[in-house]
Symmetry: C2
Subunit: 350 residues, 2 copies
Amino acid sequence: MTITIRDIARKLNLSIAAVSRALNGYPDISPETRRRVELAAQEMGYVPNRAARQLRSKHSDTLGFILPVAGPRFADPFYSEFIEGLSDETAAQSFDLLITTAAPGTDAEQAAYRSWVLGNKVDGMVINRVRRMDWRVQFLAQNQFPFSGLELSQDGLSYPHVTTTSRQAFHGLVQHLAQAGFTRQAFIGGPPDSIIQHERQSGFVSGVAQAGLDLRPEWLTAADFTSEGGYRAALGLLDLPQAPDALVCITDETAFGALRAAQERQRVIGRQVAVTGFDGVHEARYTNPPLTTLDVPVYEMARTLVRLLCGRVRNKALILERIIFTPRLLARTSSLGRMVNLPKDEEEVV
Amino acid sequence: MTITIRDIARKLNLSIAAVSRALNGYPDISPETRRRVELAAQEMGYVPNRAARQLRSKHSDTLGFILPVAGPRFADPFYSEFIEGLSDETAAQSFDLLITTAAPGTDAEQAAYRSWVLGNKVDGMVINRVRRMDWRVQFLAQNQFPFSGLELSQDGLSYPHVTTTSRQAFHGLVQHLAQAGFTRQAFIGGPPDSIIQHERQSGFVSGVAQAGLDLRPEWLTAADFTSEGGYRAALGLLDLPQAPDALVCITDETAFGALRAAQERQRVIGRQVAVTGFDGVHEARYTNPPLTTLDVPVYEMARTLVRLLCGRVRNKALILERIIFTPRLLARTSSLGRMVNLPKDEEEVV
DNA sequence: TTGTAGGCGTTATCAA
DNA sequence: TTGATAACGCCTACAA
């Protein structure tokens, strides 16, 4: 037996309209009445019915995020931080967060977006792992649906987004590795159409060029953002007749797999072969050996995405916002090289 | 301009009732009409309005989960796997998953539960980190609201739940450590009212008793499930005049902090001091040194919770289900002790 | 087999 | 300042 405004109205001998207005802070209601209504609502345990409110007002006070899962059970600590950031900021903005999983580029993914957006299930969406040509971006823009994205796609459409200077960061990372004595650097990237793959690989390539290093075509490999994928790609590289001495990975999760591969192949990581990641998930600090990585504030980025999105949702004004984060190089043992040792806290900010 | 069944009806010269029935697979509609309706819906891009449907039918096809966050930015890889399991199974069951964050025991937590449950925002809830006396359990049971839980509370109420034989597992873990030569074992637990704290600590204590080891009261410490908490508790233990030689941690995340503390205090982990965790998050395999842990299938457990919950939601039958998982001991270098070395794959199933 | 009509709980537009 | 009342989009008796 749930309580509705009708029950409150009856009890107080008021119209439901008056009750509704009192509860929603409208000015045209006497302070006295408002007080009585609020009191009654309180003690009767009234909670507004979201469905009814949503049907009437056309908004759900809910934001959506669709987790791009590669397959069953490929948990990535990046998402632990990311989702926590999303939920925290969503809650802070008095919204709810709706989540589901779908493999990128599948029918299920399309169905999920369509049903949420067209069915008014959410007021806005956060997207990540943006692709260069991304149908999600086109679909959302076409429907004039509020969304914010991690990375900007290349469809020529504009939307509020968060990005990182990862190209420069990878460029710099290569120099760091070169200074440490790693001259045969390989890259383990992600799917070819993703923005970050594009950015990070080109940063890597330009870095290698600038350092005047050799770059064999087979040293440019692609995985799928999973540690399993990183593991396989790394094995492939290490078993090459001309094996590289550095495995520059597109994400920390990928690097975790590369670490495992290097261990299996009995390489002394940090000396014989360097391994590096990107994201700065805090598990990277605990790996064996600790993983050199480009640290970005994942949690803060997620909060920012939600903040940008809420701005869009609340006032439809088309303020284009682009928030840029700069990665910090955390140089740890996995890229020690010929250096004697690292700064005391095992980290070096560049 | 969103499409409603009314639009379809108008276009086809049908009543909205007929359209509704055709779309929802009712038998009393001619195959011909059904075909026409489905076709029209398809090409007009009709998507049902969830709010309207929910208002009418009283259910939201949505499940809820409230992430118990300790504070900002305490990402735990456990939740990465857990949430992925929740979302995957939720999607598989054609439900959506609603998520928010709230610190355990706060007003915000209560408000979230009340608003979701009483406001019909979700059809069922998954709860975890169950406390011995848990107001959430009482609240949900009182409202006859479907829910499933990770661990059973001790309120005397019954509900479908997933549990692990963690008491026995900790008991066994102590023996394993004792055999490896660690005789001064300390425990780093969680908040005193949580079920798992109770279970795991008592398993630890009984294990110590059975092994005939010394147990100083100051070796029984409590943290808060964060690595930061584990770090502080571990420092406290290592700095004791009578310092322990094993840090048995209630979760992997806690153990990550303990590893860091032991490293800072220059202990040779695995020889001078053992560190162990619980959960088997896959990052535990990559720590320095690799972390001995009690592995449970977190992803599968999350899926099971959702499966149980959907059973409840769909047919209100009060089948009480209790699914029990048994942890596997993964013995890794962090508890090597006087053993020469570990099995080839660094893991030993007990 | 199809149509009519009432109502789910709210909010918003009128009058009063 | 308050009260009727009409939607919002959908489902479901009941009638045709």
